[in-house]
């Protein structure tokens, strides 16, 4: 696998220019709103005329945003967006449902609302990627050929890879998991609230795979701790966070801050524990640990399932060819351009992209303009110089009403948008306000290609 640190360091000058430009926009003000705002080159320029056929697989945040920006940048192109799902879910809101602060409807809308004019929506699953033949084949057997392919197929939650676990258990027998769906997030809130009324043994896990929103397992631990304190039951409870590896967050300085907060809140931490099996009737979770296996009893458990690429992608030639990313099926792309390493007319964006730290809506926001720039430049016969630095952000909720606005890049550098104003490792109300007020409208604007 490529050494991201060294490749990014090589592009140091461009990197610095990139962030100077971004910061200039941030300082224009409108706290929170500017946090994800940056115009795309393609919008600034006039439309490019072409007859290119562009297929986008997946109509989640990444697919819709790419489609909107391509529709705005190109004239005459055939843009086909393929996804069987008709509903759209604002996934960053799942944590707030799980915290009992927002209803299910807060995150639910329809895909059709965001499909730009001129984009053809095909409501089918893709069954096969024929990257050598430049076509995809849908579940009904329809073959759709392309000049350019953008893979935005997301990922699959694999509850079944935990023995004894299935999604239908969420909300029963002390089992919670905010990741699965809005309804499951609400069921998780009910289970957690019951636990917070009584106290007991609460355990939190994260899987031994790449995951989307790596902050969410931590957020939910902090939120549970806060509810226990508000209901005066913290003294009756023991909380244990089980990390799959030997850190709490992939960025060392953030990991250390979370360790300090866990220590302060008396949340015990186990390292190198991967959830292997669960026995719901006995309320026992079994972990793989350095010493073999370990059993932990619980009154409440928050499960984050293993995640991997959808089967059609895993079975295609698109994933990495070696390493854990090959096993999990993430698409092999250049981390800075999101262009496929072996198929230059293929890009991957969002959760499916085999890049570090790239599985958040903020990553999508910053990846999409780069992909669109490169794709449009290819069509125009030019070269694009924009690149993705790995920037992403995570408003890491540390209690109800406060969050840390953590922003970072591939190199594990903190990249605060408001240096000197909003400290990235401070628990602040303003960061909470951004999460709850500004994030969703910015996200929806992104889907429409307007932010």
């Amino acid at each position: 696998m490529e050494d991201i640190s060294s490749t990014t360091a090589a592009g140091g000058k461009r990197n610095a220019e990139y962030f100077d430009r971004r910061r200039a926009i941030f300082t224009l003000g409108a706290v929170g709103v500017a946090a994800m705002a940056r115009p795309a080159k393609a919008e600034a320029a006039g439309k490019t005329k072409t007859t290119a056929r562009i297929v986008i697989v997946g109509a989640g945040a990444a697919g819709l945003a790419v489609a909107s920006r391509l529709a705005a940048a190109l004239e005459g192109a055939r843009i086909v967006l393929i996804d069987a799902r008709k509903g759209h879910l604002y996934q960053p809101g799942f944590t707030l449902i799980g915290a009992g602060l927002k209803p299910v409807k807060y995150v639910v809308s329809s895909t059709a609302e965001y499909v730009a004019a001129g984009v053809e929506l095909v409501t089918e699953h893709v069954a096969e990627f024929d990257s050598d033949g430049n076509k995809v084949i849908t579940i009904s057997g329809t073959s759709i050929s392309y000049d350019y392919l953008v893979v935005a197929a997301g990922l699959e939650l694999e509850y079944g890879l935990i023995d004894g676990m299935e999604a239908s258990l969420i909300g029963t027998m002390g089992i919670g998991s905010i990741y699965h769906s809005p309804a499951a997030a609400e069921a998780t809130w009910r289970s957690m609230s019951t636990f917070a009324d009584r106290g007991g043994h609460g355990i939190f896990v994260r899987p031994n795979t790449e995951i989307k929103c790596a902050g969410a397992p931590l957020k939910y631990t902090f939120i549970t701790d806060d509810y226990l304190r508000r209901r005066k039951k913290r003294g009756n409870a023991e909380l244990v966070y089980n990390s799959n590896n030997n850190v709490l967050f992939s960025v060392p300085i953030v990991s250390e801050k979370v360790r300090m907060l866990f220590e302060e809140r008396e949340i015990r931490t186990n390292y190198e524990r991967a959830l292997k099996a669960i026995d719901p009737s006995r309320r026992i979770a079994t972990f793989r640990s350095p010493g073999g296996t370990e059993e932990q009893g619980y009154d409440f458990i928050h499960i984050v399932p293993p995640m991997r690429a959808p089967q059609a992608v895993r079975n295609s030639p698109l994933p990495w060819q070696a390493g854990s990313w090959a096993t999990e099926g993430w698409v092999e792309v250049d981390p800075h351009t999101l262009r496929h390493a072996r198929y230059p007319n293929v890009f991957a964006v969002g959760d499916i992209a085999g890049v570090p730290k790239g599985k958040t809506a903020a990553s999508v926001k910053w990846q999409v303009p780069v992909v669109v720039d490169h794709l449009v430049a290819d069509i125009s016969g030019q070269a694009a110089d924009t690149f993705y630095s790995g920037y992403t952000s995570c408003p890491l909720i540390t209690r109800l009403g406060r969050a840390m606005l953590v922003e970072f890049d591939y190199r594990n550098n903190l990249t605060p948008s408001f240096p000197g104003m909003i400290a990235p490792l401070e628990e602040l109300w303003i960061s909470w306000v951004m999460e709850t007020v500004a994030l969703k409208p910015t996200y929806l604007s992104m889907l429409r290609g307007r932010a």
């Binding site: 926009i25 224009l28 500017a34 940056r38 109800l400 009403g401 104003m421 602040l428 604007s445």
Partner: protein, 121 residues
């Protein structure tokens, strides 16, 4: 570049507020014009009404904070640092100034029209 940034901000606020955004902008624009017109008409601030408006503005500031707390699901604002106090002050200040100006302008024009009606009678 700056024009595009403004468009981005408008897009985000449109998503946030929907049609309320335009109602808010029209109110701000119309309120400002009427306030300035009132100042010209009355040749300056009327001290008694200005004090009443500021008192009303305190309620407006509290209402603005209340709205912010409601939409951000915050409970009482849990200030964690100076920037939080600044945000609280800005929200309170905007609510105070906005509602005070609105009150002053509305009360002023009502008074102007009443005086006019009395003169005609």
């Amino acid at each position: 570049m700056k024009n595009i940034d403004a468009l981005v901000l408008i897009a985000v606020f449109q998503e946030m507020l929907g049609p309320l955004l335009w109602l808010l902008l029209v109110t701000i624009a119309l309120g400002s014009i009427l306030f300035i017109a009132l100042l010209f008409h009355e040749r300056g601030l009327q001290p008694h009404r200005a004090i009443q408006s500021q008192a009303f503005g305190l309620l407006g500031g509290l209402a603005a904070l209340g709205i912010m707390i409601y939409v951000s699901s915050s409970g009482f604002p849990d200030a964690g640092g100076p920037i939080d106090w600044l945000l609280i002050a800005v929200v309170f200040g905007v609510g105070l100034a906005g509602s005070a100006v609105l009150f002053y302008t509305l009360a002023g024009w009502i008074s102007v029209f009443r005086r006019g009606a009395q003169r005609r009678a």
